[in-house]
């Protein structure tokens, strides 16, 4: 028998290499600013420092955030963004929900290629310049916008001809070429504020098991910007979502296809959904249910919530093992802090039955739905035009 030496736990700690293998975008941006090529929008204070994949520090703004919304979230799963805003309000943080914002248009770009790098960069910089003009710092709701904007930043750093083209376009729009110091995804903000969220937790979640699905465009596309920490997965997987769920007492269970994408496919979810459905059900939901037996799965992107949730209907028709509620981390965090499942989380826009999950939390979904219907009755009888934040209290 071969004797293998026993290595002490101390030595088995993972150490990052001294030199990150990728360039530091902060330095590149600073240099471009010194040369008068760009303006950097700096993170407002106070901020929270976190660590990214190769050990660099990333600053996450706490407030004065400019919310770059997501088409798919706002359009089809609106409780996703509503929960982000609700968290800001409950934590007493200043934020801006702008109308001077377009989509990043990257969903269309990755689906149809009916665009080009100059157009994509100009759309991004128009939004960044709009945020800069308000003094609020952009925080990006969509994983694809987040990934794509990092791609745009990288292209603008490396290609002077693209910078010139975008600067000229911005000049015609009366805007400057502004690039934020960090591209910040909302789930990084939820992660950075997880202690404050947990302090205000009113719903016990310690008996809940969840699986996590990380968004490809968050941790694979320009990977070095994603948050990693030795306390979570030994810094071998991104810490967002998981760090929040664990802080809320949820048992995060592993499964073998964690790295796989959700099957969204950009064009597939719109015009070739047989692929999306098959992938989501067979490579993700069934594997999660068989290996981890979770009460829900939690993700942090538009396409992932949509694909994992909506695909289960067809999966059920085919006799597949499905029936797993899908929520965003912002929704779980809001729920833990006592947000209303329908007035705030808007769970009625989700497809897979989530009532058993609410019941397991000790909430009465029928009663909660009646409360929502009572509020909506005022819209139906014309005594109110809209529900407001006051109606969610």
């Amino acid at each position: 028998m071969i004797h293998l030496p026993v290595i002490s736990a101390k030595d088995r700690e993972f150490h990052l290499p001294d030199e990150p293998p990728t360039e530091d975008h902060h330095e590149a941006l600073e240099e471009l600013e010194r040369e008068g090529e760009i303006i950097i929008q700096r993170i407002p204070e106070p901020y929270i420092e976190v660590q990214t994949k190769f050990g660099r520090t990333k600053k996450i703004p706490v407030q004065k955030t400019w919310h770059h919304k997501s088409c798919g979230q706002c359009g089809h799963i609106p409780g996703y963004s509503t929960s982000i805003f609700w968290l800001n309000r409950q934590l007493g943080l200043d934020y801006l929900d702008p109308k001077d914002q377009t989509s990043c248009t990257a969903w269309n770009y990755y689906a149809s290629a009916t665009s080009n790098p100059a157009a994509q960069a100009a759309v991004a910089i128009r939004n960044f310049a709009a945020a800069f003009e308000t003094g609020y710092f952009p925080i990006i709701h969509c994983g694809t916008s987040f990934g794509h904007y990092k791609e745009v930043r990288q292209s603008l750093i490396h290609y002077p001809e693209l910078r010139k083209q975008v600067r000229d376009i911005m000049a015609k729009l009366g805007k400057k070429l502004v690039i934020p110091e960090e591209i910040v995804h909302y789930s990084e903000w939820v992660y950075a504020l997880r202690d404050r969220i947990a302090e205000r937790q009113v719903v016990d979640m310690s008996h809940i098991t969840a699986t996590v699905h990380p968004a490809c465009h968050y941790h694979k596309l320009i990977e070095e910007d994603a948050i990693y920490t030795p306390e979570i997965y030994g810094a071998q997987r991104t810490a967002v979502i998981t760090g929040v769920l664990q802080k809320l007492g949820i048992n995060v269970a592993d499964y073998s296809t964690w790295f796989d994408c959700c099957g969204f496919g950009f064009r597939h979810i719109l015009v070739s959904r047989d692929f999306s459905r098959s992938f989501a059900v067979q490579r993700k939901i069934e594997v999660m249910m068989e290996e981890a037996h979770p009460d829900l799965t939690v993700t942090h992107d538009t396409g992932c919530v949509t694909t994992l949730d909506q695909s289960q209907f067809a999966g059920k028709a085919h006799g597949k093992k499905v029936g797993l509620p899908v929520l965003a981390d912002s929704q779980v965090a809001a729920l833990a802090m006592g947000a209303h499942p329908y007035k705030v989380l808007q769970m009625h826009w989700h497809n897979t039955d989530n009532k058993p999950f609410l019941e397991k939390l000790g909430l009465d979904p029928e009663q909660k739905w009646r409360e929502f219907e009572e509020a909506v009755a005022k819209l139906k009888d014309g005594s109110k035009k809209y529900l407001t934040w006051e109606d969610t209290d």
Partner: protein, 233 residues
């Protein structure tokens, strides 16, 4: 469907034309950051979702490009690139390639040159392009119609029945819209239209779908003229 990679599959297209298109791919400023050669290790394939359900391989695409095989690139540009999910799982390539980015570039060249297979791949997709280019948000609540998403079940019907009321029940005032994801300022839309015109995207649309191009031009011209712009710059 099995992918036919036999030599000169598209015999009706000259090698010169295939080389011209490959040169267009290589002329893209991102190309040299997307491909540094290929070990043929298959790590990209192991990570690739599309490879599991289609006869599709990012390795084959990276190899064809690295070997400068214009004939094979032409076949892949027609028969393969639209299967990609654009997830960028293949960015874990040990040679620092981005096969996904290579595919983005190949798709763009296919669209710019109006390849028949690109037109076919985008059939039924025109309404999405119309939405994003004309309104600034890509998917809207009113797209949730049972006939558009029959495979999502009865819940889509319930949403479409209650759409107006459920939108007005959303606390953020930017979300009361049904035709766009959120309320976008007119000034913002005008700026977006100017970007589409100034960056040649309108020409791409004309190449791939002239009917859609006409509709978009109509919608945009009216708003741009109201705002005092002419499109001569």
């Amino acid at each position: 469907m099995a992918l036919d990679l036999s030599y000169n599959k598209y015999a009706d297209v000259t090698l010169d034309e295939k080389e011209r298109l490959f040169d267009e791919v290589k002329a893209d400023l991102r190309y040299h950051h997307a491909l540094y050669g290929c070990y043929e290790c298959g790590i990209c394939v192991a990570a690739c979702p599309s490879a599991r359900f289609y006869d599709f391989s990012p390795r084959v695409i990276a190899q064809a490009a690295a070997r400068e095989d214009a004939d094979l690139i032409y076949t892949l540009m027609n028969d393969s690139v639209w299967d990609c999910s654009q997830c960028f799982s293949c960015d874990r390539c040990p040679r620092h390639n981005s096969p996904g980015m290579l595919i983005t570039i190949m798709r763009e060249v296919a669209v710019n040159n109006g390849l028949q297979t690109a037109r076919k791949a985008l059939e039924g997709y025109g309404r999405i392009i119309y939405k994003i280019m004309s309104t600034g948000t890509q998917v809207s609540p009113d797209m949730l119609q049972p006939n558009a998403f029959p495979d999502w079940g009865g819940h889509v019907h319930e949403i479409s029945e209650n759409l107006d009321i459920w939108r007005r029940a959303l606390p953020p005032e930017t979300l009361h819209t049904t035709e766009t994801g959120w309320a976008v300022d007119d000034k913002t839309i005008i700026e977006l239209y100017l970007i589409w015109h100034m960056t040649g995207v309108m020409n791409m649309i004309e190449e791939i779908d002239s009917g859609l191009h006409m509709i978009l031009v109509d919608v945009m011209e009216e708003k741009l003229e109201e705002a005092g712009y002419d499109l001569s710059f």
